[in-house]
């Protein structure tokens, strides 16, 4: 094997503390080295041409470049090598700048170290194996999980770019939390008015396959090549036949038997229902748990009234598989219900606020429904207990947020804004009412956001009290809110008619399960992790899986929409080429050595190790060995260190190469 060594001075950057000619001269005598040269700027055009010429002239098999960090110019030199006709993986970089000249002062010892570093690289490159970039095909279809505003936006963007989308929503209708909101800050736009046209657009889009009341069961495969199994839960209503007339809903006799979760349990719904009148698709669902038919086999009122014969009590869940190239996860958030705490939960909750005990202590989303024109009170402010108009409303911020002792240490980000909005909406309708807000800090970063909060205080006369509330209790039909005004430095007591808690935004209940299904990491709160907090906030660490909206961290609507569009753009980048190229740094298995213990399978963070059957010439399986799916493998090499028989190796970093480096010292 003929190896060329090229030592770069990097101007004075390396040359000042490393005697480059001496390094080049010392390396000439290394076994296998055919030529060893030094040059002022190896990465410059003349430098690269020098490398290319030497490769061609001397028919070199491999090269070692002593220069800056491989993170800097490895690609440059690999490209030069390819141009001159050698495999890019027969190029090794000895890091003489960041790891030698810049961190040492003494010329003698740093030159010695530089020679050692080059020698290590030479020994490694001798053992390097030519590798070829892996090409995998791309299925140009996107799966969007979650039909809230983020999912809707992502689906529309991808579909409008000309690619097919499968949108999966677990509820009977898309729309998500945004459809529950009354008005949105800071413009006080009606939430439904701006959302429902988008929902309809999704429903009618020729390239969007909408699957509501469905859940993702299994995700197999890898970037560009996922196979997704989706469970389409039984609606008990034939989607093709139903026209959405709603006659079954009005005639259903099992009224007031179940809380309406869309109305945040402030109203009831019958057994056959649509979550809200503007639902998309406007096809009802029969709730098996309360329907009379499933209890005693009688009733069947809906069957009688349905002119289209769309009711099907015996409908079963359907399992659908889809071939997908990119996945956008937009599963959103839920509100922290402070009363319902499982026994094993480390979160304590706020028993002293009486949520769940007092009907008039409500959370943010419940207040949205009360304020909404389509809500249970038709937009009139009536308290849930007796339907009277509350004259004094206390809003408490940071319930569960920024409070490690009782909730979560993070800031839920939107509560400052929506509390200001709530107080404003209330003051707009109840002119003689009083609104008090207990706050810790006002965090209103965003375009027109701080102005909005100021408007609530200055124009609408909402009274802001800086401090925490210690207790809420009932006395003579009033709720006594006892807190502290930390600016005045005195305790406060307010006899409120109604209390609204701005509870924390938390991850969906099944967020961690879905993360495990897809194979993406999540943080200790259940929010999904981005690949890099600054530079890759949209991608998950798993290739081809992108994040959008509040499933990643608490977010408001414009941020969720922006993130969704970004995720769509990321998916489209993936679809920009027919084949996907990737570095061939992946693990491979020596099947004759593999004993089939599958420890590698246990430690692989990507589930890239599969079981492969080895058959003899008669087709009889005589052993099982590990097999690495190169599409899934990201090349960490954890399996190689785990393998007891050393039969799995990482291409580009195999044991022989590393031992050679060790031995060179």
């Amino acid at each position: 094997m003929k190896i060329g060594v090229f030592i770069c001075h990097c101007g004075e950057n390396i040359g000042r503390t490393v005697d480059c000619p001496r390094v080049a001269k010392a390396c000439e005598w290394l076994p296998g080295v055919d030529v060893s040269l030094d040059y002022k700027y190896m990465c410059s055009d003349p430098g690269q041409n020098m490398i290319k010429d030497e490769i061609r002239k001397r028919k070199l098999d491999a090269i070692v470049v002593g220069s800056c960090s491989p993170h800097m110019h490895e690609k440059t030199f690999r490209k030069a090598a390819v141009d001159a006709g050698i495999n890019p993986f027969l190029v090794e970089i000895a890091n003489l700048r960041e790891h030698c000249s810049w961190v040492h002062d003494d010329i003698d010892s740093s030159t010695d170290k530089a020679i050692d570093l080059v020698r290590m690289a030479v020994e490694k490159v001798k053992r390097n194996v030519p590798l070829t970039t892996i090409e995998v095909p791309v299925t140009k279809r996107t799966l969007v999980i979650g039909g809230g505003i983020a999912g809707i936006q992502a689906a529309l963007d991808v579909a409008n770019a000309g690619y097919e989308v499968v949108l999966v929503e677990k509820e009977p209708s898309i729309g998500g939390h945004m459809s529950q909101l009354s008005e949105t800050f800071p413009t006080l736009d009606c939430s439904q008015c701006i959302l429902t046209p988008r929902m309809v657009e999704v429903y009618q889009h020729p390239r969007i396959k909408l699957m509501t009341y469905s859940e993702v069961e299994k995700v197999e495969g890898f970037i560009g090549n996922f196979t997704v199994t989706i469970r389409k839960k039984a609606r008990h209503i034939d989607e093709d036949k139903c026209t959405g007339c709603g006659l079954c809903i009005t005639k259903c006799p099992t009224k007031k038997k179940a809380f309406n979760s869309f109305e945040e349990d402030l109203a009831y719904r019958p057994a056959v229902y649509v979550p809200f009148p503007q639902a998309v698709p406007n096809i009802p669902v029969i709730d098996e748990t309360i329907c009379m038919y499933y209890k005693n086999g009688k009733c069947g009122m809906c069957v009688k009234v349905c002119g289209r014969e769309a009711i099907d009590f015996h409908q079963q869940d359907k399992i659908v598989t889809e071939e997908i190239g990119a996945i956008i996860v937009a599963t959103g958030y839920k509100l922290y219900k402070i009363d319902k705490k499982p026994d094993d939960s480390p979160i304590k909750g706020y028993g002293e606020y009486g949520y769940g005990k007092y009907k008039d202590v409500v959370d943010g989303l419940q207040f949205e429904r009360i304020a909404s024109a389509s809500g249970p009170t038709s937009g009139e402010f009536k308290r849930p207990s007796d339907g009277k108009e509350p004259k004094k409303v206390v809003f408490i911020q940071c319930v569960g947020s920024r409070d490690e002792s009782k909730g979560f240490s993070y800031c839920s980000k939107i509560c400052c804004m929506y509390t200001a909005k709530h107080a404003m909406l209330y003051k707009h309708k109840v002119h003689d009412g009083e609104a008090y807000v207990f706050y810790m800090d006002i965090r209103s970063g965003g375009k027109m956001y701080d102005e909005f909060v100021r408007r609530a205080i200055e124009e609408d006369g909402v009274k802001y009290i800086r401090g925490r509330v210690s207790r809420i209790y009932e006395k003579d039909g009033k709720y006594i809110v006892r807190g502290e005004d930390t600016i005045a430095g005195m305790p406060v007591e307010i006899d409120a008619d109604m209390v609204v808690l701005a509870t924390a935004m938390i991850a969906q209940q099944d967020a961690s399960e879905l993360a495990q299904t897809i194979g993406i990491p999540y943080d200790k709160y259940g929010f999904y992790n981005e690949a890099h907090p600054k530079l890759r906030p949209i991608e998950s660490t798993t290739g081809g899986v992108f994040l959008a909206g509040a499933c990643q961290s608490p977010k408001d609507i414009p941020e969720s929409v922006a993130m969704a569009s970004a995720a769509a753009a990321k998916a489209l980048v993936l679809f920009g080429s027919d084949k996907l190229e990737r570095e061939p740094v992946v693990a491979y298995v020596n099947e004759s050595l593999c004993a089939g213990c599958f420890y590698c399978k246990k430690v692989c963070p990507y589930g890239a190790v599969e079981v492969k059957e080895v058959k003899d010439r008669n087709g009889v399986v005589y052993k099982e060995v590990a097999y690495v799916n190169t599409g899934l493998c990201q090349g960490c090499g954890t399996c190689t260190a785990t393998c007891p028989s050393k039969s799995v190796e990482l291409a580009g970093f195999n044991n022989e190469e590393i031992f050679a480096q060790i031995a060179a010292l």
Binding site: S69, E98, H99, H104, T541, C636, G637, T638, F653, I662
Partner: protein
């Protein structure tokens, strides 16, 4: 005389994403550390085999540093957890074999911790300097030779040469 001029050989096994980049940052920040340490880059600390370390000791390393991303920051999600578990056991094993645990040190150094990298490297070099050269393998070889002087595959002359070299 020889003891005074002795400089330890330190090998650092570092992951590509955090510590190698952290070492790059130490360079770009022009922080200084001793020349004794040489880095071997692997993709993930999870891929560092204990055999690498034994081999390095066998080949005359006096101290070894293993470093990767901080727990929960692994580029590959979980590689460093496997590494941590593996090294906890391996460290104890070294102790059992009578090798000073300080010869093998672990640290989490992220890509933004150039200063920490310098501190860690300097500490390892100082610790190893205080301990002196690692003779464990040499002694083992000598012991082996006196017990089984005619074992095939072990070239006795090589060992003698090494001894001579040491005496010079």
């Amino acid at each position: 005389m020889k003891e005074q001029n002795w400089e330890p050989k330190i090998i650092a096994f570092v992951c590509n994403w955090c510590t190698y980049t952290g070492a790059d940052l130490a360079g770009t920040s022009r922080l200084k550390y001793p020349t004794n340490v040489k880095l071997i880059r692997v993709m993930c600390s999870g891929g560092i085999d204990p055999v690498f370390i034994l081999k390095a000791f066998e080949r005359g390393a006096d101290g070894i540093l293993v470093s990767g991303c901080h727990p929960n920051d692994c580029h590959y999600n979980a590689g460093n957890f496997h590494a941590r578990r593996r090294w906890t056991f391996f460290h104890e094993l070294l102790d059992y074999l009578g090798i000073d645990k300080n010869r093998l040190q672990f640290s989490w150094v992220s890509a933004s911790e150039g200063k920490k990298f310098v501190d860690v490297v300097s500490k390892v070099v100082n610790d190893v300097k205080a301990m002196g050269p690692f003779k464990g393998y040499e002694e083992l070889n000598n012991e082996f030779m006196t017990e089984f002087p005619d074992v095939s595959g072990v070239d006795e002359s090589m060992i003698l040469k090494e001894k001579e070299g040491e005496a010079v």
